[in-house]
């Protein structure tokens, strides 16, 4: 589920006990790293009968159109893939991974925002791949709710409590609407946490 940003959760603020989680906890949500119970299904592997698995977009679409789901479905949307193809099936998808092949490839920002705003998708949107720490606050504003953390720099920053956000927003995204506690004339919003 989407983290409850509206209740004043500051993403970068680590709870000390949980921040000591071992390196096997790679899924970051507000406050803490968690053990990731999702797996990526090998493209050649048979469909599982239970568990939580990510499939590539093409295979997922095929399954959604023609099959029945016997496991918790996640879909990996690569940067160049069209997230709107999932529009008709979102209630059957528990997690969507928007992937960064390189931090400079910002297509995942649009994918996340389309999910959050055009489709009001309420499942998990997780960022994967080569994003950097300094992109994370903006990704959250675009609708990302979890991060697959593999980069030691990202991990080090989060463990230190870094969350490099500028909390005055000139342009609300769908997600920011929940953050408003200091409405400005027209567009501008301050998180003011």
């Amino acid at each position: 589920m989407r983290p409850a940003c509206g209740q004043g959760v500051k993403w970068g603020e680590m709870m000390t006990d949980q921040s000591k989680q071992g390196a096997e906890a790679t899924l970051y949500r507000p406050h803490a790293f968690h053990i990731d119970d999702w797996q990526i299904l090998d493209s050649e592997a048979a469909l599982p009968t239970n568990g939580s698995y990510f499939l590539g977009l093409e295979r997922a679409l095929d399954l959604l159109a023609n099959g029945t789901l016997s496991f918790k479905l996640g879909v990996i949307v690569d940067a160049g893939e069209d997230v709107t193809l999932l529009g008709d099936y979102l209630d059957q998808i528990a997690s969507i991974a928007v992937h960064f092949p390189a931090f400079s490839d910002g297509r995942a920002f649009s994918s996340a925002r389309l999910l959050a705003e055009r489709y009001a998708y309420r499942g998990e949107v997780r960022a994967t791949g080569a994003y950097i720490l300094d992109q994370m606050p903006m990704l959250v504003r675009c609708g990302v709710s979890a991060f697959d953390v593999q980069d030691p720099n990202v991990r080090a920053g989060l463990e230190r409590g870094d969350w490099p956000d500028v909390t005055n927003y000139y342009q609300p995204t769908g997600n920011d609407e929940q953050l408003v506690n200091n409405p400005r004339p027209w567009l501008r919003r301050s998180v003011g946490l």
Binding site: S104, F109, P137, R141, V166, Y170, W186, S190
Partner: protein, 554 residues
């Protein structure tokens, strides 16, 4: 002009604190240069040939005297006593040290300035007509919308990692002085049939190695819809712009490869989804921003015109300066003044700290505290009463800022070139200086008339050579700097891309070649009233080719 409120001030302070943290991480070695690069670029900090370069945003080229004084102070304190005004209405410091840059940004924040989005693959500083709010031929003040767009685009969470940089220009007058058709998005304010103003929208213009003129995608977008329409364009670009090759990543390539009609329908489809969202700009907000840009209360200067005529009759130098460096104002007893940063033989766009202080003081004294930077790298005082022109001119003469060459052949645009820039193949500044020295005699300049020479030191075209009436492009051929000459470019409402005339010239022959081109023009123009660009459009390149490459023509 626009003034920060608490929200804006806090925004910039937070950004400075964020950058200070990043610089500390770099200085301590925690961040490698590779990791630091995207972060510093988001704050306008480049690594050049010899040093860091900090590019400071001057939003839509507008500033007041306090800000200009601060720019001068920073040049004194952190740089080598000068700054360089750019074609994007920004200011560049060429010699800051990395450790000082957070302090520089802090000082800029004191006067409501910053370096946000002056580099990186994001929406850059919005540029506009340097006479905005003052020009006699204005439909509406473009700064109002430039400010609304500045706010919307500042640290936009979705559009900060675009395929490539993204430049928006707005023009509010009937004549295009913002070169909107060579920008990623060009906005032209228009009167709407239904009343009120709107925007004609052009997409996909640009220079660089593949120069293209923008295509019109909309005739008249309502004011209230401008942000949702821009957001639709940016989203289509962010999702579909090419990322496999940085030289094909600008939106102009997307327009070219997708085709105008298909792209237009993609934009329209995207827009339909967000048109009625929170991005609709309320009239109250447009009015609120408009109030910031109200015309200052200009003094009555009924005697100004007759006094001016008298003084001009007594001082020929002044008279030449008035005819060349002033522009008609909305209010009859005032004019817009161009303070040339193109002294004959000088470096285009450079100003010393002392000159910046002088201009700031003059702006406060005679210009209602308003200054502008033009994309042609000059400083503008947009409102000056006619009777103040003479004392203003005399002060400018004392400060070596009274060159009467606005729009003439020595009003050259040049990029920093190989003297500073890590991308350059060739030097631009010495070429510009040499041409300026050769043609600088004022009688000769007057005889030649309106002529825009623009010089780039590499194919990235920062010196706008594609749209110079005469363009000069420095290239590297097996270790030798060669200069190609293009003719017929223009960046106004009749935008055109110049055509290469022939093989390039080594540095020491460029000025001769330019002189030959100009002499050819002088020989074939129908009268003194036919400017270079009109003559070129009439006769085409042939006579110029014959003059420069006689053997081939024979």
């Amino acid at each position: 002009m626009y003034r920060y409120d608490e929200f804006d001030a806090d925004f910039v302070r937070q950004r400075v604190a964020q950058f200070r943290n990043q610089v500390e991480r770099r200085l301590s070695g925690e961040l490698t240069e590779d990791q630091f690069k995207p972060l510093r670029l988001m704050n306008g900090l480049y690594l050049q040939l010899h040093a860091y370069m900090l590019r400071v945003a001057i939003p839509y080229g507008t500033l007041n005297s306090r800000q200009m004084h601060k720019l001068a102070d920073i040049a004194t304190k952190y740089d080598r006593g000068y700054g360089h005004f750019t074609t994007r209405q920004n200011l560049q410091y060429n010699w800051p040290s990395l450790k000082d840059t957070p302090d520089i940004l802090e000082e800029l924040a004191d006067v409501e300035m910053h370096a946000i989005q002056t580099s990186g693959n994001c929406i850059r500083n919005v540029t506009t007509d340097h006479f905005a709010g003052a020009a006699h031929d204005e439909i509406a003040d473009p700064r109002v919308y430039a400010e609304i767009i500045r706010q919307w685009s500042s640290l936009h969470p979705e559009f900060t990692f675009l395929p490539r940089k993204f430049k928006i220009a707005i023009n509010g007058a009937r004549a295009d002085r913002a070169a909107i058709q060579v920008h990623d998005i060009g906005l032209q304010l228009v009167e709407r049939a239904a009343g009120g103003v709107g925007f004609a929208v052009y997409v996909g213009g640009g220079q660089g190695r593949t120069p293209m003129i923008a295509k019109k995608v909309a005739d008249s977008i309502a004011e209230e819809d401008i942000l949702s329409y821009l957001e639709a364009i940016l989203r289509v670009y962010n999702r579909y712009g090419r990322r496999d090759n940085k030289y094909k990543a600008r939106i102009k390539i997307l327009v070219h490869e997708t085709g105008l009609e298909e792209l237009k329908s993609a934009i329209e489809a995207e827009w339909a989804n967000i048109k009625d969202s929170v991005l609709k700009v309320p009239q109250s907000e447009i009015d609120r921003i408009n109030d910031y840009f109200a015309m200052p209360s200009l003094k009555e200067d009924g005697e100004g015109a007759s006094k001016l005529a008298l003084t001009r009759a007594q001082d020929a130098g002044f008279s030449q300066w008035v005819s060349q460096n002033t522009f008609a104002h909305k209010v009859k007893d005032h004019v817009c003044v161009t303070i040339s940063l193109k002294p004959v033989g000088g470096v285009p766009g450079d100003a010393t700290d002392k000159q910046m202080h002088v201009v700031a003081d003059l702006g406060a004294q005679y210009g209602y505290d308003e200054l502008r930077i033009s994309h042609e790298q000059n400083i503008i005082l947009p409102h000056v009463a006619k009777s103040d022109l003479y004392p203003l001119y005399q002060a400018l003469v004392t400060a070596d800022l009274a060159e009467a060459n606005a729009g003439l052949v020595t009003d050259i645009i040049a990029c920093p070139g190989l003297d500073y820039c890590a991308l350059a193949n060739a030097r631009s500044i010495p070429i510009s200086q040499d041409i300026s020295n050769r043609l600088g005699a004022i009688e000769r300049q007057k005889d030649i008339g309106a002529l825009k020479i623009k010089i780039s030191g590499c194919i990235n075209a920062c010196g706008h050579h594609h749209v110079g009436h005469i363009g000069i492009l420095g290239v590297d051929r097996k270790g030798e700097e060669l200069y190609q000459i293009t003719l017929g470019g223009s960046a106004d409402e009749n935008t055109s891309i110049g055509a290469i005339l022939g093989r390039g010239f080594p540095a020491e022959e460029v000025t001769d070649a330019i002189e030959k081109v100009i002499d050819t023009y002088l020989g074939l123009r129908l009268s003194e009233d036919e400017p270079f660009i009109d003559a070129y459009r009439r006769v085409g390149p042939a006579p110029f080719k014959e003059a420069l490459y006689p053997a081939k023509a024979a």
